[in-house]
């Protein structure tokens, strides 16, 4: 479909004009925010597509982390680590907190209770 000419350095592929997510669902999630009065159809499309790009980025970073530990299975631990390390992903730090061994957690709880 794309013509290969010697002079054009960039091979321009057709843009993706559809998204993998149901737009009605994306719109519902967007409107969950009571501050949002109305959103244009274009904005819903853009949010949906941006989320796809985000997931692509997120998945690749997670997998790189797994590979750095010689694994090919992405685990919660990998995701938690990249969320902690990458600034752009700070917004997910509450969703994907780093897990702490039970002993440590209980100890922390004791400390907090001791302070009160």
């Amino acid at each position: 479909m794309s013509s290969k000419s010697g002079s054009s350095p960039k091979k321009r592929s057709l843009p993706q004009t559809t998204t993998s997510f149901p737009l009605a669902r994306v719109k519902r999630i967007m409107k969950e925010d009571k501050d949002v009065i109305q959103c244009s159809n274009e904005s819903v499309f853009l949010v949906s597509l941006a989320t796809e790009y985000f997931l692509d980025y997120f998945a690749k970073k997670s997998f790189n982390q797994s590979q750095s530990e010689k694994r090919r299975t992405v685990t919660y631990k990998d995701i938690a680590k990249i969320v902690k390390d990458i600034d752009q992903l700070e917004f997910l730090s509450d969703v994907v907190p780093e897990t702490v061994p039970l002993k440590k957690a209980l100890q922390k709880q004791k400390e907090i209770k001791g302070l009160n």
């Binding site: 057709l14 843009p15 993706q16 004009t17 559809t18 993998s20 997510f21 149901p22 669902r25 994306v26 519902r28 999630i29 967007m30 969950e32 925010d33 501050d35 949002v36 009065i37 109305q38 959103c39 244009s40 274009e42 904005s43 499309f45 853009l46 949010v47 597509l49 941006a50 989320t51 796809e52 790009y53 985000f54 997931l55 692509d56 997120f58 998945a59 690749k60 997670s62 997998f63 797994s66 090919r72 299975t73 992405v74 685990t75 919660y76 990998d78 995701i79 600034d87 752009q88 917004f91 997910l92 969703v95 994907v96």
Partner: protein
């Protein structure tokens, strides 16, 4: 009855995108799948809220495409902006042609139905005339 799943993206769709991003031999464990689906939803919330701040700051009521682009810059995800702009352009052109086609099809269908009704009436009249003979 609305379940909580309706406030998240369908897991199958999310996994499809993720599988396309990773090599064939990559695997994702169950927990990670849940987290990824949740993260996608949070991203939508985050992007929307940031864009909505832009909308409100310009005293508008409708969250527009430009607000999304501003938000992406704020969130440092503007690496997606170029591809998104192309996609939006492509989609607007597609929608424009789809609307044009729909109008043309509607007109054609109307004409055909009119003809169909005329033929039906002619047949009915012929039948009624026959009945009287």
């Amino acid at each position: 009855m609305t379940s909580i799943d309706e406030f998240e993206l369908p897991k199958a769709c999310v996994m499809r995108v993720i599988k396309a991003a990773l090599p064939d031999n990559a695997l994702i464990n169950k927990e990670a799948k849940v987290v990824m689906t949740k993260s996608a939803t949070i991203f939508i919330n985050y992007l929307t809220a940031t864009a909505n701040d832009v909308t409100k700051s310009t005293n508008k009521k409708i969250l527009s495409a430009n607000d999304i682009f501003s938000a992406l810059e704020t969130l440092e995800f503007d690496e997606f902006s170029d591809k998104l702009k192309d996609a939006l352009e492509g989609r607007l052109i597609k929608t424009f042609y789809k609307k044009k086609k729909k109008k043309k099809k509607k007109k054609k269908k109307k004409k055909e139905k009119k003809k169909e009704i005329e033929i039906k009436i002619k047949i009915e009249i012929k039948f009624e005339i026959r009945q009287f003979h």
